[in-house]
Subunit: 337 residues, 2 copies
């Protein structure tokens, strides 16, 4: 495995972004989001996503210069148009606006339409938590999952992020509505390994752990069967209706042309209703109870969402961030071009 | 099956509430919430819950006279103390306050601590949607589900409700974080039927469809395995931290003494950012696509969350609402006592 230092990774991505036409400050922000995602172990949505990201810019789906603008709003809620700009920069700006509204009103919301793939959704939860805010955000996606009771994919997997600020490490849920992403299915099918739990239906309509069979049927399983199906639908409705942007069924199904998507960003300032000491006491009480649960495997203590990420981050900062040699070369070649 | 008219059901419940010590107007509101829940087919949380509700009043867990009061707040977010009052009345008042805040600020939030079981969470989603509001709300519960990787239950199943107003029938998700409630498990185990999908672990630690085995192990399955486990945890953290109320691990595990729980109510006024025509157009586009998906079973078209409820409601209003004869007698006896 090739490992490079975080600074090397960031710098290479920064220069690659400049080559793709970004202005300097935006190149730095976008490179930082990609590099942090890889540093934190979310390999599917950091450096490894760069080739698809570059292709989306090349085919005109992503406009590297567009900045979001406010189109409607009242009090603590606003609608913004992403103008098909860079997904992670648009999302970061929208969460920042929700945070600023929460500072003013205790809670704030931004509905962002006409934007692009935000890469790792957890980035915006961490952004809010770093500023002491509770946050929820979600995005719709192209159709990649059948509704419960259907064979044909009409729902997105619509990741939902919920973040809770905490001095000892933020608690952050980053959860798609499908049991496994197609990226994960591809990794299992390449290795010929069965999934740890059922991940979808085979072409005969039976639940299966065979990733290749699910890739063939395109029938990924919603989390909790009918429940995740319903969750995906309502998240799409909220995002599209409040932003005035596209719903899942209107988003092009070619991944490099998945564009014009809809997102929601909510932030809550806990200092509106609680003091820090109380917040810490309640959070630590909950997490201590979780740690004290009897583990299924004595060697594997129960973890909170986001805990494992901190271990991976520490390791990757210490040993270097693992990179795919081919993609690493591609990013560096772009830098020199 | 015994069926009674909606009016009979409501009237019997109203008089029963009076016998339990409710003031007249509060008896009417509480009876209406119980009766509507049964009318809508959520049988586990309406009339059938009445004996447990009466027991909670008798043992002092629920104070029929207590009303919620505001203890903190800033702008569009407030913290309320439920004073261990009647759970459904406290929840209704809190959602109404969130709606009123949303009318003023576009979005509003209420964190309610020290309250009691809200019965059907969907009631408060419907309440908001009836007033043209988008809404999300959730509650924590006593510990009834092990975290992913644990054998001992430290998490609640923490139902999450998301509602979208719609002239043709609100879209309403009412989703617990466990795959099946213990009420549902009991019904399957009584009938000796296997669950439709895995619902938990048996005492040997294997996933199983055997409801009785899950009742014995007390190892109910989170939706989406590790995902529902994380979702339950973060919903508990948000509810307890923002309300200053109890977290799941602090709630008494005796169902008739489950008291002092924490809830969150969020409302968004879509008229802050969109006009009605646009909202309708986007919603109908999404639901039409869902309807056009190829069903697994040609006789079973795909439904949106809340659609089946409308059919059951119509049938129950037409034929009478099904009631359990024993509980029906108990409610009527209380009326005459």
């Amino acid at each position: 495995m090739l490992r490079v230092s975080y600074d090397e990774l960031y710098t290479a991505l920064y220069h690659a972004m400049l080559s793709l036409g970004f202005a300097s400050e935006r190149a730095a922000q976008c490179a930082r989001l990609f590099a942090e995602t890889t540093r934190d172990g979310v390999y599917t949505h950091g450096l490894n996503r760069f080739p698809r990201f570059a292709a989306s810019i090349a085919n005109g789906s992503v406009n590297v210069s567009a900045e979001p603008s406010k189109t409607a709003g009242m009090g603590a809620i606003e609608r913004w148009d992403g103008h098909r700009g860079v997904g992670n920069l648009n999302a970061q700006a929208s969460m920042q606006r929700a945070i600023d509204l929460a500072k003013q009103y205790g809670i704030g919301g931004v509905a962002l339409g006409n934007t692009n793939h935000w890469m790792r959704g957890g980035s915006y939860g961490l952004q809010a938590a770093d500023q002491g805010m509770f946050a929820m955000c979600w995005t719709n996606t192209l159709a990649n999952m059948p509704a419960w009771g259907a064979k044909t994919p009409t729902l997105g997997n619509n990741p939902l992020i919920i973040a809770i600020p905490r001095a000892g490490g933020h608690v952050i849920l980053d959860m798609a509505a499908s049991q496994f992403s197609y990226g994960t299915l591809a990794a299992y099918s390449k290795r010929g390994q069965p999934l740890p739990v059922d991940g979808g239906f085979d072409s005969a309509g039976n639940l299966t752990k065979d990733a290749a069979a699910i890739e063939a049927s395109q029938r990924a399983l919603p989390i909790g069967y009918w429940k995740g199906s319903g969750l995906s639908l309502v998240l799409d409705m909220l995002a599209a209706m409040l932003s005035g942007g596209l719903a899942t069924h209107q988003i092009p199904r070619d991944p490099t042309r998945e564009s014009g998507i809809s997102q929601i960003f909510l932030a809550i300032d806990p200092s509106s209703v609680a003091d820090q000491q109380e917040l810490t006491q309640i959070a630590e009480g909950i997490l201590n109870t979780l740690r004290e649960a009897t583990p299924v495997d004595a060697g594997k203590p129960v973890r909170y969402p986001g805990e494992q990420m901190l271990h991976i981050r520490e390791e990757n900062l210490r040993l270097g961030v693992p990179v795919d040699p081919e993609i690493w070369k591609q990013v560096n070649d772009l830098r020199q071009s």
